[in-house]
């Protein structure tokens, strides 16, 4: 074992520390070989089709040997491999898997291949078992890890194209040979918004007490400023006569006065009038008249649309209640605001 483990990245020579050396020599051929062996045994009920048929989909360019220094990217490999972002993942693959993002993409597809109910990691396990069986033959001595690890990498990045609506593409060239692209680039190009990670049971490993507590604190907004939980509360702010809208994060403020000052600053370019917050510090509830004073004299009033779709004057209810019910804000001319409900 190389004593210079800490410098392993530069070394790249010793067999043990750098499987990439071995992989380089095997290149695309090795990948395809593993592909066949790994996948044909696992195509199950879903009948994803033998990947070999879709060999053309193996982007050989993607498997091309690229030896870059750590840190260099291969930016041009993009669009072809963005299948993952098509959003056409089969339901089966989505649950309980993680959606297409970064390193998870390949694993989610692996599970498609096996149809294993236990999720992507299970699939990973299954594939490895296969290789393990091949192990004794292919790996005569305990020190030689290369075939196994190599195989693992390539299977991990094996291309699988599923016919049919699922259309899950699993394509990543062997990362161990130094190619840089795949997941990072794919994720960089990900246009599909990753709303929530689909949850694998027990991952990430956080005590359920903690998860529950933090979720509760995000719900108990009442007197809490700042951002509990997933915590931003952006609402659109429009102003009569302004050419475009703005957005504010209501959680950034704890009083009407703060909100008002911020809005003033934001929209000052559209109006004349002074800045400068008057009003009594510490008072959370601002009366209608105070708001008028703050917002450029009596010309404008601040109104909001609440959960029921009604337009209300800002300032009547306690702040905490306000941010819970406010959908969006509008700075109206006071003439237009006559008759607004309270």
């Amino acid at each position: 074992m190389s004593p210079l483990l800490l410098g392993a990245e530069e070394e790249g020579q010793s067999r043990v520390s750098s499987p990439s050396v071995e992989c380089i020599s095997q290149n695309g051929l090795g990948i395809r070989e593993w592909n066949y062996l790994g996948l044909s045994d696992f195509c199950s009920v879903d009948s994803s089709g033998v990947p070999d048929d879709n060999g053309n989909n193996l982007n050989l360019k993607a498997t091309e040997l690229r030896l870059g220094l750590p840190g260099s990217q291969s930016p041009e490999r993009e669009t072809e491999h963005c299948f993952l972002n098509s959003g056409k993942l089969d339901e089966k693959t989505l649950f309980p898997l993680l959606p297409s993002k970064d390193g998870i993409c390949s694993s989610s597809q692996k599970s498609v291949v096996t149809g294993n109910k236990r999720g992507f990691s299970e699939v990973k396990g299954t594939i490895y078992t296969e290789k393990k069986w091949m192990g004794p033959g292919a790996v005569p001595d305990s020190q030689s890890l290369q075939p196994v690890s190599h195989g693992k990498y390539s299977v991990a990045q094996a291309s699988v194209k599923k016919d049919g609506p699922a259309n899950v593409i699993q394509e990543q060239p062997c990362t161990s040979n130094g190619t840089k692209v795949n997941r990072t680039d794919i994720s960089n190009n990900s246009s599909a918004p990753t709303a929530n990670r689909a949850q694998v049971v027990g991952w990430p490993p956080i005590r359920s007490f903690r998860t529950k507590t933090l979720t509760t604190s995000s719900k108990n907004n009442d007197e809490v400023d700042g951002k509990p939980g997933p915590g931003t509360l952006f609402v659109k702010v429009s102003m009569d006569g302004a050419p475009y809208l703005r957005k504010v994060d209501l959680r950034m403020y704890s009083t009407y006065q703060e909100l008002s000052s911020a809005l003033e600053k934001m929209f000052s370019c559209f109006t004349l009038g002074q800045c400068g917050a008057h009003g009594t510090p510490g008072k959370e509830i601002l009366s209608e008249s105070k708001l008028k004073d703050l917002l450029h004299g009596s010309e404008y009033v601040l109104t909001y649309e609440d959960k029921d779709g009604d337009w209300m004057l800002v300032g009547d209810v306690p702040w905490e209640m306000f941010i819970e019910t406010c959908r969006r804000l509008k700075i109206m001319k006071s003439a237009d605001a006559i008759g607004l409900g309270k």
Binding site: S20, D102, N182, V201, G202, I206, V224, G282
Partner: protein, 572 residues
């Protein structure tokens, strides 16, 4: 052999306090064994099913303090079904029947019923200390019994338990005569408490050093409590929300300034971040700061707070601190030994998280760092190698990349080399948790270098049985091994079954082990309980030995199969 009377040896043994050492002492000879067991007051049982209460009582008649752990660690993450086991009642019942003068009971991951608590409170006159960590099964009624009946109670410490809160009267159950409290921690309770009773209790507890409040305790009560207990060393704030211009806030500032002994601060379960300046006066003395339940505190306010904490040794925070914030920690907290960064949004898009950069900064700025729990968005080999160079003193290194098989995003390599560097550099490493894309290679490194490793947690890693074999062969001091979602099968499991007798336990879930393999272990090693946890009851219908086992938990035991296992657990 014995040149001294027993009493002399006993006196010598009094100075030997660590469990390991006392265990060693008891193995020297029969005479020492006897002396040791009669003088032993504190016993630690890492797996409540490894021994029976009767045998414990028989061996250690002088027992005063008992620590018990129940469920396997992965139960914390919902991998163990609810009623798997770990009931404390039989222990309390047996101890109550005996003549043991129990004074302290510390439980972790056990099921504690109100009945148990009540029995406990009534059976031991000198009972002084109850510590419950990650337990469940009790309500505030059980706490009321403890409060009412334990006349000399010094410590009631509830950490992260699931308590059914029947609302606050339990605090009123402390009699007026109870003045012995040193530590009271009820931060995990979700319900209201009787604030008046709390104030009176604190007023009549002059020895109170540790007080951790729950969310229901508002700021004005906090202020009153601090005025009455300026001697506090450890404070957990419940609700910290108020108007910065109010009278209450001013009073709070004064009260806090009187608390010159506070070294440990936690809580902030509700927080108004613009009011943290009241805390600054005590920050300079803090050695432990736990803000991991305060998602409302972040950004500049958080950084300002941390900048005041120059003596910090342990810091628990949420990842909304960001890499930048960790940079501030690195510049400020030169004495830092333990860092825990928890995810504030574990299932979200991950925009709040920290990355390898933050960790590298802390490792560079805090050379005394020896314990880490780090949930992050990504990690690189280069970063881990740097961390290993900067901090060779790690005892606990637990890294959790939120995306469990994510490779090094810069090189797209697995993280084998990075973790390899950690185990090679940190010769005293006792606990390790891995994540990220990992092959068999990392396990080779672990087997070779992690000589002191006692606990290893693996998830979604490895390529083959070799991984597990490297670990089992190499880590001579391994006590706990827990594995999920790895391709380890029967070959690895059966390679050296004798090894499991040297360990406390082995957990394997969603791996490749089969029923046949598990049966084989059970057959060869009668001193192990091999439990198959089969929630979906697959096993019932298909007893084929080739069937893969979803969850297997095996542990060494002196008392054979346990009798309290639920239906879906089969002990082979």
């Amino acid at each position: 052999m014995n040149y001294f009377p027993d009493e002399v040896l006993e006196h010598v043994f009094d100075f030997i306090t660590s469990h390991k050492d006392r265990n060693s002492v008891s193995l020297v000879c029969k005479s020492w064994h006897k002396i040791e067991r009669y003088s032993r007051q504190r016993v630690f049982i890492g797996n409540c099913y490894s021994i029976s209460p009767e045998r414990l009582i028989a061996r250690f008649p002088g027992l005063k303090s008992l620590t018990l752990k129940g469920k396997p660690h992965f139960a914390d993450f919902n991998l163990v079904p609810h009623d798997w086991g770990g009931f404390v009642y039989p222990w309390i019942k047996a101890l109550a029947k005996s003549r043991i003068g129990l004074e302290e009971l510390r439980l972790k991951r056990m099921v504690v019923s109100d009945e148990s608590l009540e029995l406990l409170s009534k059976s031991f006159v000198n009972f002084k200390s109850l510590v419950l960590v990650s337990c469940e099964g009790f309500t505030t009624d059980g706490l009321a019994a403890i409060a009412a009946n334990c006349r000399f109670l010094r410590e009631l410490d509830l950490q992260e338990n699931e308590v059914d809160d029947h609302r606050g009267h339990w605090l009123s159950c402390f009699p007026e005569s109870c003045t012995s409290l040193i530590s009271l921690n009820f931060a995990c309770l979700r319900g209201e408490v009787n604030l008046g009773a709390l104030e009176r209790l604190v007023s009549r507890s002059p020895n109170l050093k540790s007080l951790r409040l729950n969310r229901a305790v508002p700021l004005d009560t906090l202020q009153k409590l601090l005025m009455r207990a300026p001697q506090l060393v450890d404070l957990g704030i419940g609700s910290y929300v108020h108007d910065p211009f109010s009278e209450v806030y001013n009073k709070l500032k004064i009260a806090i300034q009187r608390c010159k002994s506070i070294r440990s601060l936690s809580g902030f379960l509700e927080v108004a971040p613009h009011c943290m300046s009241a805390i600054y006066p005590i920050c300079g003395n803090l050695t432990f700061l736990n803000l991991s339940y305060a998602p409302g505190l972040h950004g500049n306010k958080l950084m300002k707070l941390i900048q005041h904490c120059r003596k910090l040794q342990r810091l628990w925070i949420l990842d909304c601190i960001g890499d930048k914030g960790l940079g501030v920690v690195a510049l400020t907290c030169k004495e830092l030994q333990e860092l825990r960064v928890f995810p504030s949004d574990p299932f979200g898009a991950g925009n709040a998280a920290v990355t390898e950069e933050g960790l590298v900064l802390v490792s560079a700025g805090c050379p005394k760092l020896n314990s880490l729990l780090y949930f992050c968005q990504q990690m690189t080999n280069a970063a881990l190698i740097t961390v290993a160079k900067n901090c060779p003193n790690f005892i606990r290194f637990r890294l959790c990349i939120l995306d469990p098989i994510k490779p090094d995003p810069v090189t797209n390599q697995p993280l084998d080399e990075g973790f390899g560097a950690i185990v090679q550099s940190c010769k005293g490493l006792k606990r390790l948790s891995l994540s990220g894309l990992l092959t068999d290679q990392v396990f080779l490194y672990i087997g070779m270098y992690a000589e002191q490793l006692e606990m290893l947690s693996i998830a979604f890693a490895a390529d083959s049985d070799k991984g597990m074999l490297y670990v089992l062969n190499g880590c001579k001091k391994l006590r706990k091994l827990e594995i999920r979602d790895c391709p380890f099968g029967d070959a690895a499991l059966l390679e050296d079954v004798g090894k499991y007798e040297t360990m406390r336990s082995l957990w394997m879930s969603s791996c490749e082990v089969t029923l046949g393999g598990c049966k084989s272990v059970a057959e060869k090693m009668p001193s192990l309980n091999v439990e198959i946890i089969d929630e979906c009851e697959q096993m019932e219908f298909n007893l084929d030995d080739k069937q893969k086992v979803d969850k297997m938990y095996l542990y060494r035991t002196l008392v054979g199969h346990r009798k309290d296992a639920p239906e879906y657990v089969s002990i082979l």
